[in-house]
């Protein structure tokens, strides 16, 4: 049966809570309402008030309490209602959670998942469109994932819940209901840290993740058809740790790389990826590593502004053509 990205996340929560009674869910409006996006729907009925917990509007508390429960062996899955509000829990994530094992000399662990609905393109404006992933990919001790498909959404969430470290899990709001696929019947997980080659290609590589993966695939199809240019598409899936081997392999293979993300250009993880390639695949490059990302501004509300700011299939096609012509 076809399952949406959103339903896939919901399935993962159900399955993991059934599998391990230490898993519990906590956040604003996650219980009776089932979450602002209905991601946690049905959990209250299935697992009761002890394991599906509505909190006051207290992001620092939500993450901090998650840390406290996690060090005692629970596996909390906490929700930021929108990833934009993760800024209110910043200290608890980058300090309390990320340094926990380190400052305990390896004698403690923090198996915590922070779910954060992120991303733009839904008229969410400045505070309901953010892509905050690069604030966290520079923090050792954390893991960061950003699935683009229903399969990965489910498999990565299950892996994140089973992981013994704090994982920030970015789920893209625009994909919730726009992306769907058949999921295998049985149990599966998607390993953290492993990128996925969505499409093999010969001429160019695109490295991307999350909200822009489908736009890139669309663009690749257009290039294949209209330009007879064969584009390889690497979906990172995990943003920390990066799958360096996969990144360098595709760069070495095609010699021309475009990095695409919906996050802003400056300070987005595209810089890190371009730098990695420029340093470690220098000899293999036939063209400069290019980046296509949101413009260096906030995600404005008015449709013409939002459209101008965000990457889209057309802009990706253009960038690919320009790179192909280099």
């Amino acid at each position: 049966m076809e399952v949406t990205y959103l339903a896939a996340i919901n399935q993962a929560l159900h399955e993991e809570m059934r599998r391990d009674e230490n898993v519990f869910v906590m956040g604003e409006d996650v219980a009776e309402l089932g979450g602002a996006f209905k991601v946690t729907e049905g959990l209250l009925e299935a697992f009761g008030e002890d394991r599906v917990i509505d909190t006051p509007i207290s992001e620092a508390l939500i993450v901090g309490a998650g840390v406290g429960a996690a060090v005692l062996g629970m596996r909390p899955v906490v929700e930021m209602q929108f990833s934009d509000f993760i800024s209110c829990a910043f200290d608890q994530i980058v300090n309390s959670a990320a340094t926990l094992r380190y400052r305990h000399g390896g004698r403690a662990a923090c198996p915590l998942v922070i779910r954060a609905p992120s991303g733009a393109g839904i008229h969410g404006a400045l505070f309901h469109s953010q892509n905050p992933e690069a604030w966290f990919t520079r923090v050792p001790g954390l893991k960061v994932v950003a699935p683009a498909t229903a399969y990965d959404a489910k498999g990565l969430l299950k892996a994140a819940i089973r992981d013994n470290n704090p994982v920030v899990y970015f789920e893209h709001k625009r994909l919730y209901r726009s992306v769907r696929e058949d999921l295998p019947e049985g149990e599966f997980v998607v390993p953290i840290g492993v990128a996925e080659l969505r499409q093999e290609g010969r001429d160019l590589s695109v490295i991307t993740y999350g909200g822009t993966v489908h736009q890139v695939l669309d663009a690749a199809r257009i290039l294949d058809k209209e330009d007879k240019v064969s584009v390889e598409v690497l979906d990172l899936r995990t943003l920390l740790p990066l799958d360096r081997e996969a990144i360098l392999a595709t760069a070495r293979k095609t010699g021309k790389v475009l990095v695409v993300h919906e996050d802003r250009l400056t300070g987005g993880i595209g810089g890190e990826i371009a730098a990695l390639i420029a340093e470690h695949a220098f000899d293999a490059l036939d063209a400069p590593v290019r980046r296509l990302a949101a413009l260096d501004t906030h995600t404005a509300f008015s449709p013409p502004l939002e459209e101008y700011i965000l990457p889209n299939t057309n802009k990706i096609v253009e960038a690919l053509r320009s790179l192909a012509a280099y």
């Binding site: 604003e28 409006d29 006051p56 260096d296 501004t297 404005a300 509300f301 502004l305």
Partner: protein, 345 residues
Amino acid sequence: MDDVNGAPTPAGPELNARLEFELNLYYQMKLIRAFEDRVSRLHRQNKILGGVYSGAGQEAIVTGICSALRPGDFVAPLHRDLGVFLMMGVDPGRLMAQLMGKENGLSRGKDSFLHGGDLEHGIFGSTSMLGSSLPIAVGAALKFQIKREKQVAVAFFGEGAASRGDVHEAMNFAGVRRLPVIFVCENNRFAYSTPLEKQMAIEDVAARAEAYGFKGHVVSGNDLLAVVQIAERVIGRTRDGGGPALIECKTYRYRGHSEHDPALYRDKEELLEWQSRDPIPRYEFYLEKRGHDVRHVREQIDERTRQVVQAAVDFAENDAFPEPQEALEDLYAPPAGPANLNGRS
């Protein structure tokens, strides 16, 4: 309010002014209701995109509190406080343009709904991050204190936002420095779907004030007269150097959390109960006691608000969308003296 008739028998100039003031509040409250009803409708028609948070049922709070403010005061509204913009004199057309993401909206299309502030009218455009505007209002009050200005800052917040750490930090510092800031809690018993008892273990947010060294007041937020009275008293005291205060207004949200939300988690009985406390008929009853011909007043004012709202919609619909490249404008203020700071780059 010179065009409204149906006034009671003539009296001294002071009473007359008061009567006019009171009628104007009625107009304002009705305008807010009418404007918001229209906004809800425009949202269903897809003419307003993004989140829309109706303040229907809570109009008496913003009307009453803002009625005690003066030019130069500072207000940080909450996400449901469209009424603050109208009360502080923002042009309804520009406000509607803001909601539609148009060029002449307060934020020039940059941000949605109420995040576009209008400092010319003393309104700070709060971010979405609930409670974050309280430290900012405290900073405004700090400026008034440093500069020995007889102004006040007002921060509106929901009982939901009251759980945020920023609220604590703001109130504590306001208490320490006895700053001219008034914290107004609109306690509508729900934060999205979360009822009061899951948000706090106490009944009154106002009880917190004492823990910061100032006084907390509780008032019916559906009783405009009561809100006006407490606002005049408390804000007046703060303005005169009496230090911060908290006013908690008990109220109820009529519509869903946002226009997307059918609010199935709520008890229909409870809604009915609160709708029976609607601030508008309640205030009409008062006006009647005051000797006004309420039916006449209402008709006139309904006509007037209808015109104002329609003019606002017309203005906004005819307004252009911003040019795409404007997305890169307004990020940084140019190097100029402070006087120019509120000018565009």
